[in-house]
């Protein structure tokens, strides 16, 4: 087990390094400097600014400096939000994004798993077809279409829920963004769970369990559920990445003060340090989440623990 964790960590570190390095050099490919956008600055002021941000140093020194700062959790100053460092901005936005994302993943599992199990147990019945039809809709219609449509319906036309805003994370404000963010993942989880449940139910060891004289619910709870959840579990990594990506548009649409909004603002304003900071932060988050999911998986599947 320890061996396995060590191996997965050894995989994660080079990945993180690639993310950081790639973004650093991509950023430096940008034509023009970070101070081009606004009024033409006098050359001496620009030189001062460049020196202040160490942009006059050779590239490799900037790279080392950036890496060094990163290790201390310092993403550098924002070019546009002059009074804030990128770290401050990210830390401001993170609680909002985290709450949103965690709720969405939770909702996806809470709804997706039972949907899939029910569809599999009632395979090829009206219930199965309608559940899977809904799921196909959830996959086909992107969240940035569903989100404004939901806002239009529940916010504007019916007036039941606020159209946007965070309001300190009040429940009415959370409903629409969380649901919009979760829908696609609910659909994926439900489809996967159905497929793997059907496969498991047809397996030989389920026949064995029935031959033991177990009741049908005992067969399903004790023998079918856990193996059927394995594929869904290994999908959690991509699902989390999908939620993080989705949160960018959802925060934008509902005007929530999460990292995603800073990221889009930064991208549109060419706030290089901010964009890069968020990319690196997201990268770390995704790699870390993948790691956690893999470890979780190894708890479920005994074979992984012992293999090499």
């Amino acid at each position: 087990m320890l061996n396995y964790i060590a191996k997965r960590l050894a995989m994660a570190i080079p990945t993180l390094w690639i993310v950081i390095t790639l973004s650093f050099f991509l950023m430096r490919l940008a034509p023009g400097g970070p101070f081009d956008g606004e009024r033409q600055l006098p050359p001496e002021i620009e030189a001062n600014l460049m020196a202040a941000y160490h942009l006059d140093e050779p590239l490799w020194m900037q790279y080392l400096r950036y890496m060094g700062n990163l290790l201390q959790g310092d993403f550098g100053p924002s070019f546009k939000y002059k009074d804030f460092s990128v770290t401050e901005l990210i830390m401001q936005g993170f609680p909002v994004s985290l709450e949103l994302g965690a709720l969405a993943i939770g909702l996806a599992l809470l709804l997706g798993l039972p949907m899939g199990v029910m569809a599999a147990l009632k395979r090829n019945t009206a219930l199965d077809y309608s559940l899977m039809g809904v799921a196909l809709g959830g996959i086909a219609i992107p969240n940035f279409v569903i989100a404004p449509l939901m806002a239009l319906l529940f916010g504007v036309l019916l007036g039941w829920l606020p159209v946007g805003g965070w309001n300190g994370g009040a429940l009415p404000n959370l409903v629409l963004p969380v649901v919009a963010l979760a829908i696609q993942q609910i659909a994926y989880v439900a489809r996967m769970m159905r497929a793997s449940m059907i496969e498991v139910l047809g397996s030989h060891y389920i026949r064995t369990a029935r031959a033991k004289g177990l009741r049908e619910h005992e067969v399903i709870l004790r023998h079918a559920l856990r193996p059927a959840m394995l594929p869904v579990l290994s999908y959690l990594g991509p699902a989390i990445a999908g939620i993080i990506t989705g949160s960018v548009v959802i925060e934008q649409i509902f005007g929530l003060p999460g990292i995603g909004r800073y990221f889009v603002q930064g991208a549109l304003n060419r706030d290089y340090t901010l964009v890069m900071g968020t990319v690196v932060f997201y990268g770390v988050l995704i790699v870390l989440m993948n790691l956690i999911v893999d470890l979780l998986y190894s708890l479920f599947d005994p074979q992984i623990r012992y293999d090499d």
Binding site: L26, A140, P148, T245, V249, F263, T278, G283, V287
Partner: protein
């Protein structure tokens, strides 16, 4: 099940010419009504996007000074209404469809070419080359790609060619994995060994045996890639990081619609319907193709 296998007792004497797997799959697909309806619908949408803009009286950025923010109507000149700037929404949606569909086509092609080559080489070479190539894919997988693409767009400026390339470059990973898996498992099949034993050349084996036998999964995967690619492009465009004025795409239109949805909901609904219907049809078609090409999964 052992019991029913003899029901299909092999007495192939009734007809002489057999049915190839491909033709059999096509027959199964034709029986799937949802898939066929989707195929026809996709044909109609594609045709409309390609031909439509020439037939309609309005240009992409042409402003009708008499009709700002007109809702859809059957009587006026704008069946699906106009946007806040007086531009015809149907015209714009069809132009947007061109972009979305062309991105789908080109990016899928890019991913297909890279993925098939990469996967086939890794699978065919095997051994150390294979594990090195696949380790690289693993690392690429765990990168937050969406964000790197956005970073790329920010840095290099928004450019349609870049979108093609960037999205294609993201999507080839799955294709490579699938093709590699196929190649590896086919390589171990006895008919490939039999071909070696016949003295058939490697190039012939690849062309005659490996490729024809891996088209099924590749086709299935392509139909899954197309909607993903369309989604990615509209996602970028929605955020304002994709296609730029004067060009437009469904993502851009949806984003404009979102901004105006309180006063002019049709601006959101029209492009959203275009996008959703296309994605729906592609997904149905993909499911149908999977069932047709691999009947065991049903």
């Amino acid at each position: 099940m052992t019991s029913s296998s003899h029901a299909s007792t092999d007495d192939p004497s009734t007809t002489v010419a057999g049915e190839s797997l491909g033709r059999e799959a096509w027959r199964r697909l034709r029986q799937n009504r949802a898939a066929m309806a989707s195929l026809i619908m996709l044909g109609v949408i594609t045709l409309a996007c390609v031909v439509g803009p020439w037939l309609l009286p309005w240009g992409l950025a042409e402003v009708d000074w008499n009709a700002f923010g007109v809702p859809p109507t059957l009587e006026g000149n704008h069946f699906l209404g106009t946007d806040a700037n007086g531009r015809d929404l149907l015209t714009r949606s069809l132009y947007g469809g061109r972009i979305s569909l062309s991105v789908a086509l080109v990016a899928t092609l890019v991913s297909l070419v890279i993925g098939v080559l990469y996967g086939a080489i890794a699978g065919y070479m095997g051994g150390r080359v294979d594990s090195l190539m696949m380790r690289f894919v693993d690392i690429m997988y765990s990168l937050p790609f969406m964000f790197l693409v956005i970073l790329l767009m920010v840095v290099l400026g928004r450019n349609i060619l870049l979108i093609y390339a960037a999205i294609g470059a993201v999507e080839w990973l799955d294709m490579a994995r699938i093709v590699r898996g196929q190649t590896l498992s086919l390589k171990r099949r006895e008919f490939i060994e039999a071909a070696h034993a016949l003295g058939v050349r490697d190039s012939t084996i690849v062309l005659r045996h490996l490729i024809p036998n891996s088209v099924g999964p590749v086709i299935i995967y392509v139909t899954l890639t197309v909607p993903k690619v369309i989604l990615l492009e509209s996602f970028l465009s929605f955020l304002g990081l994709g296609v730029q004025e004067p060009l437009t795409s469904w993502g851009v239109l949806i984003s404009e619609g979102t901004a105006n949805m309180q006063g002019a909901p049709w601006m959101l609904i029209v492009p959203a319907v275009f996008l959703a219907v296309t994605l729906f049809c592609l997904n149905f078609l993909g499911d149908g193709l999977r069932d047709a090409l691999d009947p065991r999964t049903r």
